[in-house]
């Protein structure tokens, strides 16, 4: 409880039978949610290599509570890392709809943002925002792992601003 009491302005007091915590529901839920953003293991092209590097020890995504999940049913975030082919559009939607809400989408790299160098291709979706509501865009071709870390930190800020009501 030490870290919890340091970081959050909650009221903690002794009650008969144990300690009680009084906190704002938004603050508590957002605190838990933003520190356990579990992304779907999902890579499409060369950007996925940078995403894998982010998970590995050098960049160590675990520090932020980001653990890749092998099942969309356990995931909060889908990182669209790479070129989205038109033929891949339906499988992406299928995976997205299997994720429990609230779910977030991070478009990683130029191809996922807008089609990138394949913008004129007959085969490539011109940005994954044609399919899914994107929360965070990360620019680069490919972006470095630090950029992905920054993207997740931005997502954490966005989660922090979520409200249960109103």
């Amino acid at each position: 409880m030490g870290i919890v009491l340091e970081r959050l302005p909650w009221v903690c007091g002794a009650l008969p039978g144990g300690s009680g915590v009084l906190a704002c529901a938004d603050g508590f839920i957002n605190w838990a949610r933003k520190r356990s953003v579990w992304p779907m293991t999902f890579g499409l092209a060369c950007c996925a290599i940078e995403m894998m590097a982010s998970y590995a020890s050098r960049f160590d995504f675990d520090r932020f509570g980001v653990f890749p999940r092998p099942s969309p049913r356990q995931a909060d975030l889908i990182i669209i890392a790479g070129t989205v082919c038109k033929k891949m559009a339906d499988p992406i939607l299928q995976v997205y709809h299997q994720m429990p809400e609230p779910r977030f989408v991070l478009a990683f790299g130029s191809c996922a943002n807008c089609g990138g160098p394949f913008h004129d291709s007959y085969a490539v979706v011109k940005g994954v925002d044609k399919l899914l509501p994107v929360d965070v865009y990360v620019a680069g071709c490919p972006p470095r792992p630090e950029a992905l870390l920054h993207g997740v930190l931005e997502l954490q800020k966005k989660i922090d601003a979520m409200r249960l009501a109103g």
């Binding site: 038109k86 033929k87 559009a89 007959y122 085969a123 490539v124 011109k126 044609k130």
Partner: protein, 153 residues
């Protein structure tokens, strides 16, 4: 087997076929006169000369110059690592016999050529799209292909 030996055997067995005008770099390139003896030629290359691995099938678009496609087949003799290419010109629109009876691996490769160039293969067991999405009309690697915008553009 040297290139000259292959050519000599080819001339003895298939008098209509010969060495192609344009050679692929480092690979002996043959030319089949027409689609009629394509399957027999491939079977001969496989059974008699040991070119038992079909590397690839592709096509070249010459529609603007002479209303034709040039199909390129590439065979390998695996133990020796020797390769031989075979070219065949077919008018557009037209069709060529399928090699699936000789090389089962030709199945998907011919589907790819059909999907991207629109060349039809007679006798193919399942000639349908393989790479492009179902809603895409036309054959995108043709030089006269015009892309119609879809919901992802």
């Amino acid at each position: 087997m040297t290139d000259d030996e292959v050519l000599a055997k080819l001339a003895a067995t298939f008098p209509k076929a010969d060495k192609a005008e344009t050679q692929i770099k480092g690979i002996l390139t043959l030319r089949a006169a027409s689609g009629d003896d394509l399957v027999a030629l491939a079977r001969w290359l496989k059974d008699k000369l040991g070119f038992d691995y079909l590397d690839m099938i592709t096509a070249v678009d010459h529609v603007a110059e002479r209303k034709a496609f040039e199909l390129v087949y590439c065979f390998t003799q695996l133990p020796a690592g020797q390769r031989v290419a075979l070219k065949l010109e077919t008018p557009d629109p037209g069709s060529v016999p399928s090699l699936t009876a000789v090389f089962p691996s030709a199945d998907w490769q011919e589907r790819e050529v059909f999907d991207l160039f629109g060349v039809r293969f007679q006798g193919h067991p399942d000639l349908r799209k393989i790479l492009t999405p179902d809603f895409l009309e036309g054959h995108p690697l043709r030089k006269d292909y015009v892309h119609a915008k879809d919901r992802f553009d």
